[in-house]
């Protein structure tokens, strides 16, 4: 297992965010946030609603362009790159509200997740002969491995629109995994799930981290889950970073308690 020590993770940071800011009109969604995600860790971003968590993840995945600062992934600057180029670097993500391709089967959704790993162009696709066919079959193998991993073998031929909410979330995780990412951004993967589905999802997140060695950045509101599985936590409030450390450190931080529960709880 990975030995994750707190503090000074800069030596092996896979993702470094340096004084990144983003404003929408007059609203400063993210203010000068810096953080380092250690390679192979489970890194959680928490905070009350509107704290800027999703905005931060959107900047990492290139969906928003940061106003200032820098985001480096494995030494490569990400700001200014298009989302598709960032995906090619090996960064995959899931969405807060499911964004599957509902017209396609589970299998095709996963194959789409492998898009950047495949090469065939228009002509070879049209002919579907030789290299293109070989490539499709090869990548199908990997997609099937992920289907096995997530235990959705019986759903592979179903279109994703037909699936229950919890399963859709799982397929979306599968689509992200199909990219063989080195960094996986999960935006509230357990939102709206019941206890059992949540436990399953936590298991998958832990397994992905342990088996594939994927670094995971997690946004989640369920504090129980976050405190249990995170190696490192950053707390945002109104766009600012108010705490940064291991679960125990963050839990005891007065600024965090103030943000979540209000100042009066500190006096008790």
């Amino acid at each position: 297992m990975l030995d994750v020590s707190n503090g000074g993770g800069e030596s092996d940071a896979i993702l470094s965010v340096r004084s990144v800011a983003k404003s929408f009109g007059g609203v400063q969604a993210v203010k000068e946030v810096s953080l380092d995600v250690e390679r192979g860790s489970i890194f959680s971003i928490i905070g009350p609603n509107g704290a800027g968590k999703t905005s931060l993840v959107n900047m990492i995945s290139g969906f928003y362009k940061a106003d200032q600062g820098s985001i480096t992934f494995d030494g490569t600057e990400l700001i200014g790159k298009r989302p598709s180029q960032i995906a090619e670097q090996g960064i995959a993500r899931t969405f807060q509200n499911i964004a599957l391709f509902h017209g396609l089967t589970v299998l095709d959704n996963l194959m789409l997740g492998r898009h950047v790993r495949m090469k065939s162009g228009i002509l070879s696709s049209i002919l579907y002969w030789g290299a293109a066919q070989k490539e499709e079959v090869e990548h199908r193998k990997r997609a099937e491995e992920i289907i096995d991993f997530l235990r959705i073998t019986d759903l592979r031929r179903m279109t994703t629109g037909e699936l229950a909410y919890g399963l859709q979330k799982r397929v979306e995780l599968g689509r992200a995994l199909a990219l063989d990412p080195t960094l996986l951004l999960l935006d509230e993967p357990m939102a709206g799930m019941n206890q059992e589905e949540k436990e399953d999802m936590v298991r998958y997140v832990l397994d992905v981290n342990a088996e594939f060695g994927t670094t995971i950045v997690l946004i989640e509101h369920d504090m129980g889950v976050v405190m249990d599985i995170s190696d490192h936590i950053v707390v945002l409030d109104q766009g600012e970073k108010i705490a940064d450390g291991t679960p125990d450190v963050v839990k005891a931080d007065p600024a965090v308690i103030r943000a979540y529960l209000g100042a009066s709880h500190l006096q008790d």
Binding site: G62, F63, R93, A99, F101, M111, M118, I122, A132
Partner: protein, 355 residues
């Protein structure tokens, strides 16, 4: 009973991913080949073969439009303009450079694809109905340019006459020869489209249609693939235009007006958006509809109407039936003839049980 997939086990992915994986689908493909390549030319007369030739040409165009509208989700109502680009490219190459048919066919397609790429550029910024208006503008601009440049359109009538196509010395001057050739092209177009849709590129098209933001995030360059869709679709349209020109023996802009664009949209709407079978069924339906109406009116209508009244009604009937059919389909079966077929198939799949 007819469509059984149980008992068919695949032991590797390659065999699972073939185009016609079930015995029943291989059987139906064989049947279709027999029907259209052997039975039709032997049994049908010249007139019927001419009609089927028209259908074959429409199939190519409908497939192309369905790639763009049905699969990639980019609305275009300027498709006839791309056909005219193909048509005039081929006609000019034949008359000025005396190029053989086997060269003018792809040349017309490529030229249309190039123009299609340019027209597709706005699709990066605008979507849906706004893109439709942009393509409508393209329809009028291209029509105007062709009409007003004698070097393209060949003079006052804006039409260029050409000879019947010749393939490696074999002149296709009989209806049956032309039919065989056109139906082969249509078959090739169908298989190519099937391959395109089930592979990497086609999946990316569908991804853009369903969720363009998620598509970009998982690494599909949305702009690039929208342009691909426009390019491929226009290539099909260009080929359609070339075939149509050779079929008529004349390239004329009147064959590629806005009404034709709407006809092709009607084909894929009635046939089924995002469906290959739907494109084919739609092409059959819309091409043969006017003939069906005329036959019906001549046989049934003549019982009630005078011959002169009948003649004027027939020409109006087409528009009335056409309009009402589109409305009926949009309300009753938005997924078109293809969905009707799937419903029938699913019924027989478990017959005699209900599920």
């Amino acid at each position: 009973m007819f469509y059984r997939e149980s008992g068919e086990y695949k032991t590797d992915y390659k065999r699972d991913m073939t185009l016609y994986a079930l015995p029943i689908s291989r059987f139906s493909v064989g049947l279709m080949v027999l029907l259209f390549f052997v039975a039709a030319p032997l049994l049908l007369g010249e007139y019927q073969l001419t009609l089927l030739s028209l259908v074959a040409i429409a199939v190519v165009g409908a497939l192309g439009l369905n790639i763009l509208v049905g699969y990639a989700g980019q609305l275009s109502i300027g498709h006839a303009a791309f056909m005219s680009v193909g048509a005039y490219t081929a006609a000019n190459l034949v008359t000025k450079l005396d190029m053989p048919f086997l060269l003018t066919l792809p040349a017309g397609g490529l030229m249309a694809a190039a123009i299609g790429l340019v027209v597709g550029i706005p699709s990066l910024r605008i979507k849906g109905i706004y893109l439709a208006i942009a393509t409508l503008a393209a329809q009028f601009i291209i029509e105007w340019i062709i009409n007003h440049s004698p070097s393209i359109s060949g003079g006052v009538q804006a039409s260029i006459e050409i000879d019947r196509p010749t393939i490696l010395g074999w002149k296709l001057d009989q209806a049956v020869e032309l039919y065989m050739f056109l139906v082969t092209i249509a078959a090739i177009a169908i298989v190519c489209t099937q391959n395109l849709i089930r592979s990497r590129i086609g999946r990316a098209f569908i991804a853009i249609r369903d969720q363009d933001i998620a598509a970009e995030i998982i690494g599909i360059s949305v702009f690039k693939y929208k342009l691909y869709a426009f390019g491929i679709s226009s290539f099909y349209a260009g080929v359609t235009g070339v075939l149509y020109t050779y079929y008529l023996g004349i390239a004329s802009y009147e064959q590629f007006t806005l009404v034709v664009s709407i006809d092709y949209l009607a084909m894929i709407i009635i046939g089924g958006l995002g469906s290959i079978l739907g494109s084919v069924l739609g092409a059959f339906f819309i091409t043969l509809l006017p003939i069906g109406i005329r036959l019906f009116m001549e046989n049934v209508g003549s019982l009630f109407l005078e011959p002169e009244a009948l003649a004027s009604i027939i020409s109006q009937m087409r528009l009335i039936v056409f309009g009402s059919l589109i409305i009926i389909f949009l309300i009753m079966e938005p997924e078109g003839l293809n969905r009707l077929w799937i419903n029938i198939r699913n019924y027989f799949r478990v017959w005699p049980f209900s599920y």
